[in-house]
Symmetry: C2
Subunit: 241 residues, 2 copies
Amino acid sequence: MANLEPEKRTLLNHHKEKHFTAGEVIRDIIIGVSDGLTVPFALAAGLSGANAPSSIVLTAGLAEVAAGAISMGLGGYLAARSEADHYSRELRREQEEIVAVPDTEAAEVAEILAEYGIEPHEYAPVVAALRKRPQAWLDFMMKFELGLEKPDPRRAVQSALTIAIAYIIGGLVPLVPYMFIARAQDAVIASVIVTLIALLLFGFAKGHFTGSRPFISALQTALIGAIASAAAFGIARAVQT
Amino acid sequence: MANLEPEKRTLLNHHKEKHFTAGEVIRDIIIGVSDGLTVPFALAAGLSGANAPSSIVLTAGLAEVAAGAISMGLGGYLAARSEADHYSRELRREQEEIVAVPDTEAAEVAEILAEYGIEPHEYAPVVAALRKRPQAWLDFMMKFELGLEKPDPRRAVQSALTIAIAYIIGGLVPLVPYMFIARAQDAVIASVIVTLIALLLFGFAKGHFTGSRPFISALQTALIGAIASAAAFGIARAVQT
């Protein structure tokens, strides 16, 4: 920040703004656990309520966890790769336009700043300054015209693994009782208790990390689990008759 | 755009930049159909391969679709609400800071522009212009310091319904054969064919809308379905023994 006036730099050092950032990893964990704690639980509870044998309930539950983890994990990976490719394409296009039609690109900078009530004589030096620095100009257009951030190439794999593992851990919580209790109709009671506690704790943590009210978040998360399992139970009963 | 110089406005009118935007609704459809076409299919195929009766396969599949649609739909709704609350909180904080510590906020504007190699004498008129217009200054900080866009309040409900309905439609495609073919081991063959075609078509459309190569996208999407069902099949067989 060599070109920042000394008094401004002092002000920035003294004043720390605490703006909340959840973090990409926490976001992926929340994505994985949210569905992982809910769907396998609801499926198993629904099948138990429809009087399916415990082995079927466990088979369906674990198969769903495997399929869900792969679908969300690989799906998340492809989505992140797609975003990275999209960024590269847009970067190349902007680069070409800065070279081919600089006056149009300069007009776009002017348009961006003009939206904030800044007059031509006020923004003209900024536009001129950017025109002299093609790399900075490119970065400015990527961020301020297109709103794109350069994606981290490792993010795709990290995102996929985080979501998949989070889904598996979330899914195993409600299924473990079925591994130890022979009758599904008994196991489901343990599953409901364990999963309800897990949903409340996870919902609380989610609220804490995203800056929402944790107690409300806990109740909402548990409620979604309850609604999903009620729906699964209803559908299972309906199909069985 | 009253303060945009006439020659710049002319350039912008003549030059249309085609930058790709997938659209929020398309993104939600992709999210719903991606998992909806994959997980119920894999679950049903896995259970069929483990020789479960057709009624169980259909019960489990439909119960999973119900649970998944609710989990993803309500989960998406809460996530959108959470983002809207986050934006409101950050807006209020910036508003207070513009009033309470304007010199610090002005320093932040300077820091943002300085990152692009713009010198103090070049950005000073812009900073001064923003200081005179508190609303524009607030909008500038929200966008350029925090990178936050004002969320549409209707988005939360729209997003939830879109994802849920997309998941249900995606999930029904592989399950319909089980409604008409009595033996699961026969129905699964029809399910595989129908779902494979659906995955290829959906993957192609996804690639088209996101600007990725559609044929590659079609193959990737079908491959995820294949891997997920192989995993579900393997797990189901393992649990049954």
